[in-house]
Symmetry: C2
Subunit: 351 residues, 2 copies
């Protein structure tokens, strides 16, 4: 039996309810394949601020380091968003966690599910067959630079910095992924304006010859924001910095027809973390309408990370069965909707 | 007779050919309505570098200051894009021009033309009726902050700064525009991470009570990148900083079905500037396939700026006639395409 310890940071809003279903599915996998997974639930985000005044308590961070992987729900609470003077914010916990765990590469697959083409705002013929993998740098750039107010109180600043090494390590991962796929890598930057972008382009140009099979392409971020919608099938692997990755990957999520379907993995030097790309969706909290599939598929990525490919495939097949059988939450099935729990039960049962 | 002097910076790539048609239309307007427009052609961008080593020669800037308005085609050349070490770039000319003329507000209308719904990648029912106006801050933020390489040559930085005053002046313009429209203003920012975004939110919250009729809404930029595609009809006026505006407005352009349709105005303290939102599209240069409508509609915005509403409406009606009659360039009419010049001639004739 394979024994693994998974730290669970369910977080805020719908985080706890979607994590519950993902855990259920992982337990079904353990049962069916004879593994032993233990789950260590810890506080992070607004719920951690409420309990401890700290969005990332020391105990939570310790539990993550001691775990074989981390499963995250979602964090964030509107009560902090419209208060520009709030000193402590849920997001700080997430950013500190990414930095502390060295999670420099956030990996987001975007696929168009044929069963859901009708739900996408895009015309089916434009998106059917889309299969891209976005590598977003996650521990550098403007998110982590110096920030503050100017001395006279009349201004504010955020500094964006990147080092050659920060770019190289994620670029190698992206090139390696491209080698196993359709062998195309697109760097998204704003090299006609930003110096950091010029460094990204320089480093990628220097690394490219080590991956002679991979075709490299460069797009300015404004153009990329159009191309992702106009012709998503042109993309295989997209590589980009932190802020552009935040925007472009959320934008690309519309292709799938629901934000509730898209998982992500964040990897680096230490333990890896898996989370749905959606947020805490506070309006839906406790109503049983949140889609657990993104978190369940994040669980599948976690299994792959453990080297359990067959198990991961079983989860993906069970999700596909839910899509094909229309066992779906209201945003994807308005006429005979299932609850968060029903979707989770169906998928766990199918595994 | 009204006498006006218009500086024309046709620029690079398809810039000259689309400007030619816009001038033709403005001359037809002058003739029909009895005005006198003179056009002063000047170099900017890559063509100016080739001729003078300077993307914005002093003579060009002087001509802009002496004009009543500026019409710009497009600038940029791929030979500079993949050379991270290029010292002089066409874009520097554009950025310096914006700064020198104090063009702090870039205004981009995005409308879905019913005649072109079939060309949009989005489903017609999602976009029909879309009518939004994007206010992008144009002379601040990360575009204009300090930038450079670190001393050890291993890193790069770009500084983003905003002052209260830079935010206030464009915010007032956006609120005023919202008052004459559907009275909704959406601020797009990343206030959960960036200090400059928190200052934007603070300033907008402070100004809002002066416009009690306008409903104010806040969206994080990653969410906005989804909402623009998922439900564009929810937007009236969008207000945002420079970099986010670059990305979101180009993204929103896909709604119209072609980038070749969207005009923009850049206004500030001095002379105003009008330009299509598309780039220099070097692959299309000289082939007669570039769509001149975005530049022609930029000419209509220029007429409105001169207070010539009837004249502007005549241009818009002529453009509508071209759309209705399918007198369109190949990207919108693949079976019986017209050339850039034919589209321009038709619209000039209709005015
Ligand atoms: C919550 C926020 C700080 C975060 C980010 O911008 O990184 C989120 O949007 C994400 O993409 O994971
Ligand atoms: C050419 C470039 C510098 C420019 C910008 O990013 O501002 C362009 O993309 C635009 O939107 O006008």
């Amino acid at each position: 039996v394979l024994k693994k310890k998974i730290a669970v940071l369910a977080g805020d809003g719908i985080g706890p309810e979607v994590c519950r279903e993902a855990i259920k599915v992982l337990e079904a996998v353990a049962e069916r394949f004879g593994h032993q997974f233990t789950f260590d639930q810890q506080l992070m985000g607004a719920c951690a601020i409420d309990a401890t005044d700290d969005p990332l308590p020391a105990q939570t961070l310790r539990a993550c380091f001691e775990a074989d992987a981390v499963l995250l729900g979602a964090i964030g609470d509107p009560k902090y968003d419209n208060d520009p003077s709030a000193k402590v914010r849920p997001e700080q916990g997430l950013l500190r966690l990414r930095k502390s765990l060295g999670l420099y590469a956030n990996i987001r697959p975007v696929t168009a599910y044929d069963a859901l083409l009708a739900h996408s705002p895009l015309k089916p013929e434009r998106i059917s067959g889309t299969d891209m993998l976005i590598f977003r740098e996650l521990t550098g750039g403007i998110y982590f630079g110096d920030k503050g107010r100017t001395d006279d109180g009349q201004g504010a600043y955020d500094h964006c910095t990147y080092s050659r090494e920060e770019i190289e390590r994620i670029a190698h991962r992206a090139f390696q992924a491209a080698e196993t796929r359709r062998r195309k890598l697109t760097l998204v930057d704003k090299a006609n304006v930003l110096e950091t972008s010029r460094l990204w382009r320089e480093v990628v140009q220097q690394i490219a010859p080590q991956y002679p099979e991979v075709r490299v392409d460069y797009l300015f971020v404004d153009n990329a924001a159009m191309q992702v919608i106009l012709n998503p099938k042109q993309f295989d692997v997209i590589l980009t910095e932190n802020m552009f990755g935040d925007i472009i990957s959320d934008e690309a999520s519309v292709i799938a027809g629901s934000l509730g379907l898209l998982p992500s993995a964040s990897v680096g030097d230490q333990v890896a973390l898996f989370e749905p790309i959606h947020g805490s969706y506070p309006q839906a909290k406790g109503r049983g309408i949140a889609n657990p599939i993104a978190t369940i598929l994040s669980g599948a990525m976690l299994l792959e990370h453990f080297g359990l490919q067959e198990e991961a495939d079983a989860v993906k097949a069970a999700v596909q069965a839910a899509l094909d059988s229309n066992i779906l939450t209201p945003e994807l099935n308005a006429t005979s909707p299932c609850s968060t729990e029903q979707v989770g039960n169906f998928i766990a049962y199918q595994v």
